[in-house]
């Protein structure tokens, strides 16, 4: 185990006494324990080699911004500025992170300093505009940030957004070069286009969800522009784009065989089963005991969420952002195949997943799985037999909770 990981484990263990079963349902977002902050996600103070680079004034490339959610509608907004010029463009672009381990990701994120200014989400002033320029630029923008005092280094985690390193209250913030903002994106700022239409348009023009959610959080879209906390914007964009892609695949013919895809990354194992049927989606999340959210468990804990052909009417609360990220990745793959299917996703989270890194891990993990050549089967039984060999939890445990895997069809009785 790496040094950083060891220190994180140590820090988490300190909080162990308060861990409870509510944690898995809450994952730090709904605060079911009625504490003002999630004690498990509290800042973890570990040493970082970048700490010595922290100054009261930082001049460097900002690849992105971050909008907090606590105190909503008065939230912290500000740039994420790199303390080194090198690789600044990948520091907030998870599409380039696949393959990195937990330690690499912590290191990567530690190179960014988060500036904070408290703003009402509806107030679009000069500072918010500067943030918007950074968010909309397709390349990191050189910025000058003056902090009230030297930023302090600590790690912060969220199940939805990427980990954050040092942060500080901003006194002065300037953009030192012209941001590279695509023309159409610039126009959207002025246009009276609904936010979800703007999201779909950019996706269709080839922008990935990472850029779109960044732009979405900066308040660039919508008839009434407003800042959107980063973690909400990530899931909102997954949901909007997901629904859009699903509306397309629902017009395609059904696949003709059972297909199985799988991939493991960052202690997260995915099995994706596609069945000949109209579009449906079901996702299992099985948490091993001793992950951050299952410290109180001795047995694996399983969540399941699903939607039928017509979609959901409620938020997928038990899986939250993970559900929408995986659903998007599966829908994208079906769109490439020009097919529809009923998808069942099995996600097993192993003990080694001690800190959440954000839902990008799920999106990229499933995208990677779906890029591989699938195994094909003519019966459900054979497909499940194959999946069973790679799952740690007995298949039966999933089966009895599944809806599509147990449902007969009327034509079987003709």
């Amino acid at each position: 185990m790496g040094k950083i990981k060891c220190e994180i484990v140590k820090a988490i263990m300190k909080y162990r006494p308060m861990s409870r079963k509510l944690c898995l349902a809450c994952k730090g977002s709904r605060l079911l324990c009625h504490r003002p902050k999630c004690p498990l996600l509290t800042k973890i103070n570990i040493q970082s080699s970048f700490e010595r680079k922290l100054r009261e004034e930082i001049f460097g490339p900002s690849p992105s911004i971050f909008v907090g959610h606590s105190g909503y509608p008065n939230v912290f907004v500000g740039p994420l500025t790199a303390v080194e010029d090198e690789k600044a463009d990948i520091l907030d672009d998870p599409s380039k992170w696949y393959g990195l381990d937990l330690e690499d990701i912590v290191k990567l994120r530690s190179m960014l300093v988060r500036g904070k200014t408290r703003k009402n989400v509806k107030k679009m002033d000069k500072i918010v505009e500067k943030n918007q320029e950074v968010a909309l630029s397709i390349k990191p923008v050189d910025t000058e940030v003056k902090f009230a005092k030297k930023p302090k280094y600590s790690l912060t985690f969220s199940p939805v957004s990427q980990p954050l390193g040092a942060s500080g209250i901003i006194e002065k913030f300037d953009v030192a070069e012209n941001p590279k903002i695509p023309k159409r994106v610039d126009n959207l700022l002025e246009d009276k286009v609904k936010a979800n239409e703007a999201v779909v348009e950019l996706y269709e023009r080839g922008y990935d969800v990472y850029y779109i959610s960044r732009a979405f959080s900066s308040g660039a879209f919508g008839i009434e522009k407003r800042l959107v906390p980063t973690r909400w914007s990530i899931t909102a964009v997954d949901d909007i784009v997901g629904k859009h892609v699903i509306s397309k695949i629902k017009k395609y013919s059904e696949i003709s065989e059972y297909m199985v895809f799988h991939n493991t990354y960052l202690y997260n194992h995915f099995e994706i089963l596609l069945m000949p049927s109209k579009w449906q989606f079901e996702m299992f999340e099985a948490w091993a005991p001793n992950t951050i959210w299952t410290l109180a468990y001795t047995k694996p804990a399983i969540n399941v969420e699903r939607e039928g052909f017509f979609g959901r009417t409620t938020y997928a609360e038990s899986e939250a952002g993970a559900y929408y990220a995986a659903r998007l990745a599966v829908a994208e793959a079906l769109e490439k195949m020009k097919k529809q299917a009923c998808a069942v996703v099995f996600r097993e989270i192993y003990e080694g997943y001690i800190i959440p890194v954000g839902v990008w891990e799920i999106r990229e993990n499933v995208r990677k799985a779906m890029e591989k050549k699938p195994k094909k089967f003519s019966t459900l039984k054979e497909a499940l037999e194959d999946i069973k060999t790679r799952l740690k939890i007995p298949l039966e445990v999933y089966l009895k909770r599944s809806s599509p895997l147990n449902q007969t069809k009327l034509e079987w009785f003709l």
Partner: protein
């Protein structure tokens, strides 16, 4: 092109009947062919997952006026139809008319409000209904059935329907506990059992189907062993039948 001789026109004095009938259907099915025949309106459709099927008959007697010169098929977006039907109040009259490429729905009271529903292409593929022998046919109060399903939902997303000499049972088991609802033989309206039977079903589907309870005073349950359940809602002039495929019992 002006369709001089082709006509269909029907007046429904009670919007509630249409609204409640189509509410249950539109929860399961997004589009369907509504057939206007000489003796009434018919609709048969299957949900996208092929788990549930609906078969509707709305006889011309329940309409105040019903005129038709030849059989017609209207491909309809059921969500759109519901949106329009929801605009009608209980003392309004609803007039259905075929106008070239649309089905015109007029809500008439102190004002006359017309909505044109564009007709869509819906596959005319014949939907076959499985012919099944049912050992149990029980008629019960739809409200009791609906309440039982909601009780079951507190612990699970699927439920076992059972019938035996002791009555009709709704049973659910889950991680959160077990629920059993019994409707005793004396509490049923009719009770006809050759041998006991049980099958398991998705609660989500049952809940959608039971939205039709509002139109009927009783519901006839045709139950067998691990075969689709047939649920028949009977109201004057209306027969609304649902067929729901079972779940495989894996526990």
């Amino acid at each position: 092109m002006n369709g001089v001789s082709k006509m269909f026109r029907a007046i429904m004095p009670e919007p509630k009947i249409m609204r409640n009938t189509f509410a249950a259907i539109s929860n399961l099915i997004d589009e369907a062919n509504l057939k206007a025949k000489e003796d009434g309106l018919y609709l048969r459709a299957m949900d996208p997952a092929h788990v549930a099927l609906v078969d509707m008959e709305m006889r011309k007697e329940i309409f105040e006026e019903y005129e038709i010169d030849e059989e017609k098929t209207f491909g309809i977006d059921l969500d759109r139809l519901m949106t329009v039907l929801k605009r009608a109040k209980s003392d309004d009259r609803i007039i259905l008319e075929h106008k070239e490429e649309v089905l015109r729905i007029t809500i008439e009271n102190s004002a006359k409000r017309s909505f044109d529903l564009p007709l869509i292409d819906v596959s005319e593929e014949e939907i076959r209904i499985p012919e099944l022998d049912y050992p149990c046919v029980i008629e019960i109060d739809p409200d009791a059935f609906e309440a039982g399903i909601k009780d079951a939902e507190t612990v699970s997303d699927h439920v076992t329907l059972k019938a035996s000499e002791d009555g009709f049972f709704i049973v659910a088991k889950g991680d959160l506990g077990n629920v059993e609802v019994q409707i005793r033989k004396e509490q049923t309206l009719t009770f006809d059992i050759n041998e006991s039977a049980r099958s398991m079903f998705s609660i989500e589907y049952l809940k959608d189907i039971l939205k039709a309870s509002k139109i009927a005073d009783s519901i006839k349950v045709y139950l067998g062993n691990d075969i689709p359940v047939k649920l028949e809602f009977l109201a004057p002039g209306i027969k609304l039948t649902f067929l729901l495929a079972p779940r495989i019992e894996s526990e």
